[in-house]
Symmetry: C2
Subunit: 237 residues, 2 copies
DNA sequence: CCAAAAGTGTTCAGCTTACACCCATGA
DNA sequence: TCATGGGTGTAAGCTGAACACTTTTGG
């Protein structure tokens, strides 16, 4: 009986098909004005020379999350980016080179903050979200899904922490929301709503890069925010 | 140069690690009263005899979606169930038997409708959502994520089409929502809100199984619903 | 002193919520 | 006839949206 169960065991793991698994990352960036995505020119066949998301293959000894981080670092030098899993694409024909599954990740980063990391020794390039080239395989579909997800998420959860510089002004934050949702918002209502939830903290510093008057800098109060989340909290912008 | 690109090609596909990939499905069921999940007793090592989600391995020649459907059919006899992808679990240690990725799917079905398909020749069993046994691996985590997703989805999208009998009464629908969200709702407000969106159509028939008076049966008007979705529409319950 | 962005309150409409009684019917 | 679940309207509070002027200061 013991013996038989071992046979069973082997049957259920050893004889199964094994698959190539890729990770592909949609990196959204914000440069204080517009929403962009980071793309790279593919340098191997098939589709060499075409534009693509940051992608690579999952290794034996790493988790999916780790693989996404490693691939991003290898291709762009970007480190410590908070990546969130989006979806796994598993159609047979999605990659013409072989049967490859792909788990897509996405992130939203502050372009300026990562500017130096993303030096020009890498061939990754920022493209405007409204004007980027056709991508290989199903990568266009991935980008669209990521955009929808980003929009949904930022309607009910504050972007910050991972996604913005530590200090930011309300007008900057509003520009970011406007870039993501592609529509103008009323600055009085925007400010009111954000400040009504208690997780923004005004500093005494001002940022005078965009105006003579200067705008107050704020930072997220992560503690207060986590408290609220605990209580099953959600806000709408 | 051509030759080199072929080497590159082989390098990028042939030499990569290959992985076991499983699909696991969280099947929510509704029996006119309470929300349940369908579980199965695992009959191979490791963890033989413990309770588990419906799971199996992805094969070479099938898509992830197809695999989820096949596995569900094999283990339960259930066919034509609309499965939605939830998340892919990729930690190294999640399955103690081997390094296995798992893409989780979930569905919500009408238990009575599938009652005959799920004959007792299968060892799957329905459990109350508030009282089910501990599951193997990370399956508890999967169920929790699926529940959260189901709740979010049903707050802004009508459950129907795939998820309910073709004909249903408003009180039945309300009971389903109450089971999913685990709270009582006001029947006047519930009815009002649902009917205000135009996608429910009242039939002349009544369902008298639950009361002497009988409740009108309704059906979804899929056309009208799709029109609304097209226009970037979302509702709240 | 003036151009340019930051900052500030109020009003109105629409939506959400709370709430109680009559109806139809089978037993 | 009565017990049971089905069906209906209204008022109050709250939330989201629209809207215009004053403040600050570098050039």
């Amino acid at each position: 009986m013991k013996k038989q169960s071992n046979i069973y065991h082997e049957h259920h793991y050893k004889d199964k098909d094994r698959h190539l698994v890729a990770v592909d990352s949609i990196i959204f960036g914000f440069d204080k004005k517009r929403l962009k995505i980071l793309l790279i020119k593919r340098n191997f066949e098939p589709c060499r020379g075409e534009w693509s998301l940051m992608g690579g293959f999952l290794k034996k000894e790493e988790s999916l999350d780790d693989a996404a981080a490693r691939v991003l670092y290898t291709l762009t030098g970007l480190k410590n980016v908070y990546l969130e899993q989006l979806y796994t694409y598993g159609d047979l024909e999605r990659d013409p080179g072989a049967r490859v599954l792909s788990t897509a990740y996405y992130a939203l980063i502050d372009i300026e903050k990562y500017q130096e990391q993303l030096s020009n020794k890498y061939s990754a390039k920022w493209w405007d979200i409204n004007n980027y080239p056709n991508l290989i395989f199903d990568h266009n579909i991935m980008v669209n899904k990521a955009l929808r997800r980003l929009r949904r998420k930022t309607r009910t959860q504050p972007i910050g922490f991972e996604l913005l510089p530590k200090k930011f002004t309300i007008p900057q934050l509003q520009t970011l929301y406007e870039a993501i949702h592609q529509k103008k918002m009323d600055k009085r209502n925007f400010r009111k709503k954000l400040l009504s939830h208690d997780f923004l903290e005004r500093l005494e510093e001002k940022d005078k890069r965009n105006s003579k008057k200067g705008a107050y800098l704020y930072k997220f109060n992560e503690e207060k925010y986590n408290d609220l989340v605990q209580k099953g909290y959600g806000f709408e912008i």
